[in-house]
């Protein structure tokens, strides 16, 4: 029964977070705890000649200092995460991947590969002393040639970031559907262009942090980490340190935002447990913002060279895309982002001939990992810029070109003819993309915008409107679990493997459980973010928790209900099928006035000799369910941006932003809207403000918030939202993911809107962010070109 699912229930998490009593890693204090500080490389590519720690060691309050030589043979390097980078055999057959082994030592050994790489670690009584000591450590570097440009990196004879990775190409694959080259011969027009998405830093307001507490007596190590993937952190610690996995417990307490990069297991998460074991005391490390901007994993950074064949009426015949992913010094996630890009490129469009070549290249920059959207914003920016360029070339409204190529509702489920990353066929499960487009066009009153635009143009004002659409594979497997039990107070305790960073898991999973069990959300206590709570778990990323953990919660709740009902039937003297549960009361359909509670059922379920339970019922009220999705579910959306551009300054004012989206069954509308608004804000950031910049020596130029601009309340409009609800066919509740969606389309929608505002000039915006200086440059160039044509 749907009673709580679909309601904007207020969050259980809020009380502690608004009273300052939440617990983030930095808030945890343990008796005898020491603090660690990392010495990081100021060089992008250099050999380490010598490290002198003698002065630092003598500083009072310093307990231990480790450098690369100290851990050689003791700590294994971090390599590709198998759980994320394994290529299923059928996918491998289709894309023929070439993969070269790559790794990172948790403290640099012999050479450094990027600015910010950990070189040494100091552990002292407190952070102040540890930082003093870190300043006293002298590292002698011999500079090597920095490899910064991925195209230079791929050239034969280029210096190597990692010796064993030939030509710095860590991975490449090729995907082919139909015959793009033949289509190009038959087309009326060919478009060739290069599209570039910037390197970004996810910047949760809580930086990373790790505490480890090794207990000598039990050989147990308890690790607290601001992570999205406690189970992956546990597995990686066990692997790198050679420890028994079950002796490690990883807890993700309150985590202050993640957005992807907090899911990449970082060197510090290995080093800190190792040191705690070494010194026999708890050790804490909390990252500062400079460290976050230099050393926390970064993301995006793709360059696409596309060739598109199309007809006079705007029909796209083929898309050929050769793209390079600049992964920085290490690629830990295999083809995750690159293949996400490849399989999302065609989005809501029918393009029968399709060819992709992708190269993941290593350079002397901070390693990249997935970040909200994980390859999709890059795909959508490329595709939707292409659509817009076709429309301008053909002098058609972009809406016409979009409609011309869009998958129709009656074609659902739609087979895109290739495979998803997990090996399943790429079949969109449900949705109506043209209806979403029409709904969005109505929301923005598209036709009247066009009229207003013409009128304002006469007054010298440049307003523009831009559209972007996407179809997003969400709810990636492999699985998520729920372990439910009832305690003596009659509360249901639900342990889930998916740990949150602000998505409201404690609330939404209680809503799902309440409906399935006939309880209220307050009767259900959700426990997440701890490897101690159940044997297997994956984590929160890839818009997957509502789909996977939500489904596991639902199925486990039904299993628990079955058991409760069976035992309640014994107490009530009724057959189980006659027993009902409503708002925590358990009664026979025939006699609603006589009810029992979960406490009564709990007592009866205890192992006991008199009266015993029937042999077919196992004592105790505990069930586990692991939900394994057949493949991803396909959420979709249409975004429309309205901007005004000041030609004199290149300044873009985002006047309105509208979204129509489909995430299947909505569990909590308030939380879903919050995810969309927050995602759009990050997308706006990457469209207009954010970029990690390295100079030609691989030096980071954007190491503070004065250089790396996060959008503030002055830049983010309140997004107008419209909803569709096409249920997924791939899980019991019909849920699709929503976490990442908001961030996917803004760069494309905003860039298209800016081009539209300046339609009297021949401007191509294929690089982000569209900062005032970049746009002013483009305007100046276009005006010059126009003047020279006029003067001829």
């Amino acid at each position: 029964m749907k009673k709580y699912v679909g309601q904007s229930i207020k969050r259980k998490e809020d009380y502690r977070l608004v009273t300052g009593t939440g617990q983030f890693v930095a808030d945890i204090k343990l008796a005898g705890m020491l603090e660690a500080v990392f010495v990081r490389s100021p060089q992008s590519h250099a050999r380490i000649r010598k490290i002198d720690i003698s002065k630092a060691k003598e500083l009072p309050g310093v307990h231990v200092i480790l450098i690369g030589d100290d851990i050689k043979g003791k700590i294994k390097p971090i390599t590709q995460f198998e759980s994320h980078s394994a290529v299923p055999p059928n996918v491998a057959k289709e894309i023929n991947p070439k993969i070269q082994f790559n790794y990172e030592s948790v403290l640099a050994v012999d050479k450094v590969m990027y600015v910010g790489q950990p070189v040494a670690v100091v552990v002292a009584d407190n952070r102040y002393i540890a930082e003093d000591a870190a300043d006293l450590i002298k590292v002698d570097y011999e500079q090597l040639t920095p490899i910064v440009n991925p195209f230079e990196a791929m050239k034969e004879g280029s210096p190597l970031v990692q010796e064993q990775v030939e030509q710095n190409i860590q991975m490449e694959f090729h995907l082919n559907l139909g015959d793009a080259r033949l289509a190009e011969q038959q087309a009326d027009h060919i478009l060739k262009t290069r599209v570039h998405t910037p390197r970004l830093s996810s910047n949760p307001i809580e930086t990373r942090g790790v505490i480890a507490d090794y207990d000598l007596r039990t050989e147990q190590t308890h690790v607290w980490s601001a992570t999205q993937l406690p189970f992956e952190v546990r597995a990686t610690i066990a692997h790198c340190l050679g420890w028994t996995e079950q002796n490690i417990r990883v807890t993700a307490p309150d985590v202050g935002g993640g957005f992807g990069p907090k899911g990449g297991v970082h060197p510090e998460e290995i080093v800190i447990p190792y040191i705690s074991n070494l010194v026999g005391r708890p050790v804490k490390w909390v990252e500062d913002r400079l460290e976050h901007l230099t050393s926390a994993r970064q993301s995006r950074d793709q360059i696409h060279d596309v060739v598109v064949a199309y007809r006079n009426d705007g029909t796209i015949l083929s898309l050929r895309d050769e793209f390079v992913v600049d992964s920085g010094a290490v690629n830990f996630f295999g083809f995750t982002c690159a293949y996400n890009t490849a399989y999302h490129l065609r989005g809501a469009f029918k393009i029968p001939n399709f060819e992709v070549t992708s190269r993941i290249v290593l350079t002397n920059k901070t390693p990249n990992v997935p970040f909200r959207g994980a390859g999709r914003p890059e795909a959508v920016f490329t595709m939707d810029r292409v659509i817009d360029m076709i429309a301008r070339k053909l002098k058609l409204d972009p809406v016409e070109v979009i409609k011309k190529n869009m998958i129709q509702a009656h074609e659902m489920p739609y087979d895109q003819g290739i495979l998803v990353k997990d090996g399943a066929r790429l079949i969109y499960d449900s949705g109506d993309y043209p209806a979403a487009l029409n709904q969005a066009l109505e929301m923005v009153e598209y036709d009247s915008f066009r009229k207003r635009q013409k009128e304002l143009k006469k007054e010298g004002k440049n307003i523009g409107i831009g559209i972007s659409t996407y179809v997003e594979g969400t709810g990636a497997g492999p699985f998520e679990g729920a372990l439910l039990s009832v305690d003596s107070t009659g509360k249901v305790i639900a342990h889930l493997g998916a740990s949150p960073q602000g998505q409201g898991h404690e609330t939404v999973f209680a809503q799902i459980g309440a409906d399935a069990l006939g309880l209220t959300p307050d009767d259900i206590v959700i426990k997440v973010g701890d490897t101690a709570v159940l044997p297997f778990g994956a984590g929160t990323y890839a818009s997957r928790s509502a789909v996977n953990a939500g489904s596991a919660m639902h199925e486990a709740s039904l299993k628990l209900r079955k058991k409760i009902v069976a035992i309640a039937g014994i107490i009530l003297g009724t057959p189980p099928e006659e027993v009902e549960m409503e708002d925590g009361k358990i009664f026979s359909k025939e006699n609603r006035s006589h009810s029992i509670t979960l406490q009564d059922v709990y007592k009866r379920a205890r192992p006991a000799a008199r009266p015993p339970l029937p042999p077919e019922i196992e004592p105790g009220l505990q069930v586990t369910h692991y939900f394994v999705p057949p493949t991803v579910t396909f959420a979709s959306s249409v975004h429309i941006a309205e901007v005004e551009v000041d030609k004199e300054t290149g300044f873009v004012e985002l006047q309105n932003y509208s979204v129509v989206h489909d995430c299947g069954t909505v569990i909590n509308p308030m939380i879903v809207d919050g995810q969309v608004q927050g995602g759009v804000a990050q997308g706006i950031g990457s469209a207009l403000y954010e970029e990690i910049v390295y100079d030609q020596n691989g030096q980071l130029l954007t190491g503070t918030y004065m250089d790396y601009l996060l959008p503030t309340s002055m830049e983010i409009p309140t997004v107008k939202k419209g909803h569709q609800e096409f249920l997924s066919t791939r899980n019991p509740l019909g849920i699709k993911g929503v976490g990442e969606g908001g961030a996917i389309s803004p760069p494309a929608a905003i860039a298209n809107a800016i081009v539209d505002a300046l339609s009297d000039l021949d401007i191509v915006i294929n690089q982000l962010p569209v900062s005032p200086s970049r746009l002013r440059g483009l305007i100046k160039e276009a005006e010059k070109k126009q003047n020279s044509i006029l003067s001829k």
Binding site: E13, D14, E206, R289, G502, G674, G678, T712, M714, I716
Partner: protein, 170 residues
């Protein structure tokens, strides 16, 4: 570093006397010496606003001050906001009602900035609210619900004020 300095700082109504190093950041003093961990550190260079506290009733960034500079001052942190009976105050409740927080890490800074703002803005416009919080970064919410929360809080406070004056008039 033994050149410690004696400070006396009133935190949330309680006088704290400690000997501290002159270089100790005010936020570290509040978090580590006084165990009020609700005040968070987000950037430690004065941009993100997560560490905002009220110092003698003015919002300041705890990461840009040393504890010794606060000697003799009165400080309020997020821990001071809730009602005596443990329930949420008007602003806190409005944040929860409007889903104005997701991860909640930046929230204490917003709450302290806004506590001060609402004292002399009884009926703020959206623009005024946006300006008031423009020095606090939130990476989760996209700000829209924070603005809604402030609007609700301002309205509730105004109603309370009116009721209160009606009662006093009677």
């Amino acid at each position: 570093m033994s050149n410690k300095v004696q400070v006396e700082i009133t935190i949330n109504g309680k006088i704290v006397q400690k000997e501290v190093e002159p270089r100790l950041l005010l936020t570290d003093f509040i978090r580590d010496e006084c165990n009020h961990t609700g005040t968070h550190l987000g950037c430690e260079h004065g941009v993100c606003g997560a560490c905002t506290i009220l110092l003698d009733n003015e919002p300041v960034r705890g990461c840009l001050m040393f504890a010794v500079q606060a000697d003799g001052s009165e400080i309020q942190t997020v821990e001071s906001l809730k009602n005596a009976d443990g329930t949420l105050n008007v602003l806190q409740q409005s944040f929860s009602d409007n889903h104005a927080l997701q991860c909640g890490f930046c929230t204490p800074g917003f709450l302290m900035t806004l506590t001060h703002f609402l004292e002399d803005h009884q009926n703020p416009s959206e623009k005024e609210i946006r300006e008031a919080i423009s020095g606090n970064l939130c990476r989760c919410t996209g700000y829209a619900n924070i603005i809604k929360a402030v609007q609700q809080a301002a309205k509730t406070l105004q109603n309370e004020e009116m009721n209160h004056s009606v009662i006093s008039a009677q």
